[in-house]
């Protein structure tokens, strides 16, 4: 049989999916053992047991100085920033995306502006934000919004323009005015796309969050990683990176489940 026609069963699919993760883990364990055998005080690839110790210390033992459980307080701080930034971006993207996509005059006015703004490298703006807004939460949230919102606006505006012309004309012949068509025809069809768009922007959003926290913060996942870097604490950095990845993956899956649950037709439409 040709390779292109060989399909794995469900169990095999699961096994195959796990294989790269296990291979990575195994490679790490082997590398770590080899290095520690040579130099027991090696800090680069700490043993899995010392990583487990660090996780235990961070997650389940209160910090002697502040009395907080560091992993959870860091997670809370980071997620707070991330969620408020993504919430604001989503709202901005929804409003401007629909306006630019639906109204030719608004498109003429704003589309070139957003196209230019989305090309500005957000990290280059970070110093400006810190100077203007200070080192607090506002500048971090603003950085994520600036990094994420223009791309979301452009994506949504394109999606609005992709709606078949026939649909708008049909809605007009049913007596709909611009506002009604926006509310009942365009908005509901854009919302699932907004969720997908949000999903795709999770990666960049985390990037900007960690960059901002690395430079200036007193808590947060990115702050902790860059803090312990000074002591070469790989046993803290590794679990933090895995935890961040896990959070991002879970949010990704969750948003998609919400889309399918709330807009069942969007999944039907894809199949047809």
């Amino acid at each position: 049989m040709r390779l292109i026609n060989l399909k794995p069963s469900r169990t095999n699919q699961l096994i195959l999916a796990l294989l790269p993760f296990l291979a990575l883990l195994l490679a790490y364990a082997l590398g770590s053992t080899a290095r520690l055998a040579e130099n027991p005080s090696d800090k680069l690839l700490p043993a899995l047991s010392s990583i487990a110790d660090a996780v235990n210390r961070l997650a389940f033992v209160p910090d002697p100085r502040t009395g907080e459980y560091l992993l959870w307080s860091d997670t809370l701080a980071s997620l707070g920033r991330l969620c408020s930034a993504l919430g604001i971006s989503t709202l901005i993207a929804l409003v401007f995306g629909m306006v630019v996509g639906m109204f030719p005059y608004a498109r003429a006015l704003l589309a070139p502006f957003f196209a230019a703004v989305s090309m500005v490298p957000p990290l280059a703006l970070l110093p400006i934000l810190f100077i203007v807004m200070g080192l607090g939460e506002t500048s971090k949230i603003t950085l994520i919004v600036i990094g994420v919102a223009p791309i979301m606006i452009r994506d949504l505006a394109l999606k609005v323009m992709e709606l078949p012309r026939e649909q708008t004309v049909k809605a007009e012949t049913l007596g709909g005015n611009s506002w009604q068509i926006a509310l009942r025809v365009v908005l509901p069809q854009i919302l699932p796309r907004l969720l997908t768009c949000l999903r795709l922007q999770l990666g960049p959003a985390w990037l900007f969050l960690i960059a901002a926290e690395a430079i200036s913060a007193d808590s947060g996942l990115g702050y902790r990683i860059f803090l312990v870097r000074r002591y070469l604490s790989m046993d803290v950095i590794f679990p933090y990176v895995i935890w961040i990845t896990l959070l991002a993956v879970l949010t990704n899956v969750l948003i998609d489940l919400v889309r399918i649950r709330v807009f069942p037709w969007s999944e039907l439409d894809k199949a047809s």
């Binding site: 649909q167 049909k170 007009e172 012949t173 049913l174 506002w179 069809q189 037709w265």
Partner: protein
Amino acid sequence: MIVVNNVWKEYGDQIVLERVSLTIEDRAFVALVGPSGCGKTTFLKLLLGEERATQGTIVLDGKPLAPEPGPDRGVVFQRYSVFPHLTVLGNVLLGKEFEASRFRARLVGAARRDAIEEARGLIAEVGLAGSEDKYPAQLSGGMQQRLALAQALIMQPRVLLLDEPFGALDPGIRAEIHVLMKRLWNETNLTVVMVTHDMREAFTLGTRVIAFERPRNRPDERERYGASLSRDIDIWPPRRAGVLDPDSPDRDGPIHEVGASRDDPAPSPQGDPA
């Protein structure tokens, strides 16, 4: 009555339609035929208000046509006529909701119940009873077009514009929907203008068949000469909406209650005498 007076349509340098003049009577069923790219659909867009004529006027019931689509002219396209995010019932209700509630575009309470009742009636009328809660993606092509008809008809438009509405359907399904189309035309106060590729469809449904053609079609002349009306054929014997013709009963037309042309006794309105 629709009066089209010397209409020209140009896109930039290219002339698509020229010297189109036409009067469409109330309750007529006009089929527009012609080869591809001869401006049939452009003409329909002019009637719809989606495009504006470069020259000439179109008058609907004594008033110049509004420059944008409106609820007096319903439309069914070949595709994308129904909204994928609304159920069958939601699709049919939408027009009513637009009409009743300017800002929320939603109906509540008794008004909603009445509208649902009316919508259900119309859904049953087009043969979709029982599918009210399905999404369009769960319907076949023929059922989607039936839904599109019901959705347009709930607004009780004066004119129904059809842009190759049945072109993508199988012959069997198409024949069924022709029967429905004819019944709707007979029972409602509608003037229908339909673009079609299918001559047979044009002659089975129409009261009048109008052909668009480019009189000059050499490549070097194509751009500068648009299409115009080349044939205007009244169907004989004449069909009239809702009127039965005892001499030539139409297969899908209104039926005779009694009479020589029936070979089975029709049930009388008072009930069976026996």
